[in-house]
């Protein structure tokens, strides 16, 4: 006869098996964030900078100048008649106007940076076309600063959102389901420790959390070259604290609900403000200053800020301590209240 494993181990294994055998759940936990990362990553991928529109006044020299300017990779030249050209310059539709004449005249707003770079680009192009020899040809090295692209902003936000969603649903749904089927009642009719049941929920969440975060990170690295700049261990710690905190919040939301409908409503009510405000898809810096203290108090904001800080800015554990503390408080307080008001029958 095989030896009897401790109840906590059996409960955790049972929970893991239940989850793995739920095919739809696998998609929502693992597939959905990947698809979201892929879609948004491509939608907001980096494009080369736009060319600068410049005008050439119609006249005998216009065609030659157009040919010269078209060789520049940063200019978008057009021939316009004098009056129309001035109007477009005034309205900012072109950044600079090359006026007719044997010697070109550059008309532009010297206070606009784009116009000033247009001036030097146009001048370079026309000078070269007229036979100027460059003394040397400088080589260019283009820098795309890692951690500054949209996808770099997006990946930690999606991870945070996913940790919230799966943490809350994973625990909340399974608890309410077990209550609905009177399985909870059956379990408390045995000598099982109630804490074992709850802890098993968290431990099984942790196992999936590691896979879930790992899969998204690996995917983002392979497809978009998104990297964790700071410590991977710290990133893992934040993920775990965040995941377990949200599991506790999920337990609280599910602590008394008797139906799946009721718990779904409460889950969405809890998560909706965080989806919108906590900086998943865009920075919460855009919200009014008065709202920011409240937004920062939300656990998803703390999780996103900490993940983003470590991932993109290489923050240390001391620098993300306030966010970690926020998550711990949410977790501990939720668990304590949930345990107190939990409905087993």
């Amino acid at each position: 006869m095989p030896e009897v494993r401790p109840a906590l181990v059996e409960l955790t294994i049972a929970r893991l098996k239940e989850f793995i055998r739920e095919t739809e759940a696998i998609f929502w936990v693992f597939g959905f964030p990947l698809l979201l990362t892929l879609a948004l990553g491509f939608a907001f991928r980096e494009k080369p900078p736009d060319r600068i529109p410049v005008g050439i006044a119609a006249g005998p020299n216009a065609q030659a100048r157009l040919a010269a300017l078209q060789k520049s990779p940063v200019l978008l030249p057009r021939i316009l008649n004098e009056a129309a050209a001035r109007e477009e310059l005034r309205r900012g539709k072109i950044s600079l106007l090359v006026e007719e004449g044997a010697q070109p005249v550059y008309r532009f707003d010297a206070t606009r940076p784009e116009s000033r770079s247009a001036r030097s680009e146009v001048d370079d192009a026309l000078q070269s076309a007229s036979g100027r020899k460059n003394v040397f040809a400088a080589k260019e090295l283009h820098v795309a600063e890692q951690g500054s692209r949209y996808v770099d902003f997006l990946v930690p936000g999606l991870l945070g959102m996913n940790l919230m969603g799966t943490g809350m649903w994973g625990v909340g749904f399974s608890v309410v389901n077990a209550r609905l089927k009177k399985l909870l009642k059956r379990l408390v009719a045995t000598p099982m420790r109630k804490s074992d049941y709850l802890i098993a929920q968290f431990v099984s969440r942790l196992v999936f959390l590691v896979i879930e975060v790992g899969v998204v990170l690996l995917f983002a690295w392979l497809v978009f070259d998104v990297r964790v700049r700071g410590s991977l261990a710290l990133f893992a710690l934040i993920s775990i604290v965040g995941g377990v905190s949200f599991a506790c919040v999920g337990l609280l939301v599910a602590s008394r609900a008797r139906t799946v409908e009721a718990v779904s409503g409460m889950m969405n009510l809890t998560m909706m403000p965080m989806w919108l405000c906590s900086g998943v898809f865009f920075s919460y810096e855009r919200f009014p200053d008065a709202a920011k203290p409240f937004i920062r108090a939300l656990p998803l904001t703390a999780l996103n800020d900490a993940l983003r800080g470590v991932m993109n800015d290489g923050l240390s554990i001391v620098q993300v301590a306030p966010q970690l503390a926020n998550l711990l408080i949410w977790g501990v307080v939720s668990y304590a209240i949930a345990l107190k008001i939990f409905r087993w029958q």
Partner: protein, 310 residues
């Protein structure tokens, strides 16, 4: 009477009042060790509330409960180790296999049976690796009883264990209960099936409106009816009660829908007299059946209502 500490179950003056109904209203119950005791009654009689209080899953408003000489207050964990429970409508996790479910339940107890052996005992070994969701109703119910037996309990609580099962599954379950008793186990079960109570139970308490209205062995209870035979008949038009009040050996009657039910000493004497009475009144007899008195008849005699739809 045996002292409470020696009894398997002892409860005195049990009360549970809900705002709209007195579910249990001063109920006394004493179950000896090794006994199979049945709580019999219609739906809503308070059977489930009573058994859940005894199982420590529901708090009574009043009364004293002792299980194996222990109290739910303070000795809950010890008691949980020693009783096995099958609730009325637990759905075990459908995604786990039969064996996984039983191993899980085994892990909650300090001591217990081997899951594999128990599955063989309950003829579920062929289904060991089947998901719970794929089991038939009878198999699910046997697994529920297996979960109750896995901790090697002294007392087995079964709340309507065979409701909704096919005849063969009922027989299999009765067999399981018989084997548990053979090794000295105590059983408390609720049922609204008379035949189940007569077949399984040493003693029966008939419960109605949260009180015990009759208590004894099935034989003694039926004997209480005084008349061992029942005549049930319908006629067109309906007969007045005075028509058969003077039958020889007549002990009482009850209405069952369109039919009259008469309790009599002897069919050989009563049936011809009844037919004579019917004919003399120019009434047409439509149906007439007879049977030996059962617990069902006792319940009808005691309450004037039927068990199943009371």
């Amino acid at each position: 009477m045996t002292a409470a500490a020696d009894l398997a179950i002892s409860c005195k003056g049990l009360k549970k009042h809900y705002p709209d109904v007195k579910a249990v209203d001063g109920l006394d119950l004493f179950v000896e060790r090794g006994e199979c005791f049945g709580l019999l009654g219609p739906n809503g009689a308070g059977k489930t509330t009573t058994i859940e209080i005894l199982e420590g899953l529901n708090e009574p408003d009043g009364g004293d409960v002792q299980i194996l000489g222990m109290s739910w207050r303070g000795q809950e964990r010890e008691l949980r180790e020693r009783i096995g429970i099958s609730l009325q409508e637990t759905q075990l996790s459908e995604k786990l296999s039969v064996l996984e479910t039983l191993r899980l339940f085994r892990s909650f107890y300090r001591e217990g049976e081997s899951p594999e052996q128990l599955l063989r005992d309950l003829s579920l070994d062929e289904k060991s690796h089947a998901r719970v969701g794929k089991l038939s109703g009878g198999q699910k119910q046997r697994l529920a009883v297996a979960c109750a037996l896995i901790g090697h309990p002294d007392i087995l609580f079964l709340d309507e264990p065979t409701t909704g099962l096919d005849p063969q599954s009922r027989l299999q379950l009765w067999d399981v209960v018989a084997r548990f008793r053979a090794r000295g186990g105590t059983v408390l079960l609720t049922t609204h099936y008379m035949d189940e109570a007569e077949r399984l139970c040493d003693r029966i308490a008939i419960v109605d409106h949260g009180r015990v209205i009759a208590l004894g062995t099935p034989k003694a209870l039926i004997a209480k009816l005084e008349a061992p035979h029942i005549i049930e008949f319908t006629s067109e038009p309906r007969l007045e009660a005075e028509a058969f009040a003077n039958l020889r050996g007549f002990h009482g009657c009850a209405q069952r829908g369109d039919a009259w039910q008469l309790r009599v000493d002897s069919l050989a004497e009563a049936v011809p007299q009844l037919i004579e009475a019917i004919e003399s009144r120019n009434v047409r007899l439509r149906t007439l059946t007879t049977h030996e008195a059962t617990l069902e008849d006792l319940f009808v005699a005691l309450t004037g209502r039927e068990l199943r739809d009371a």
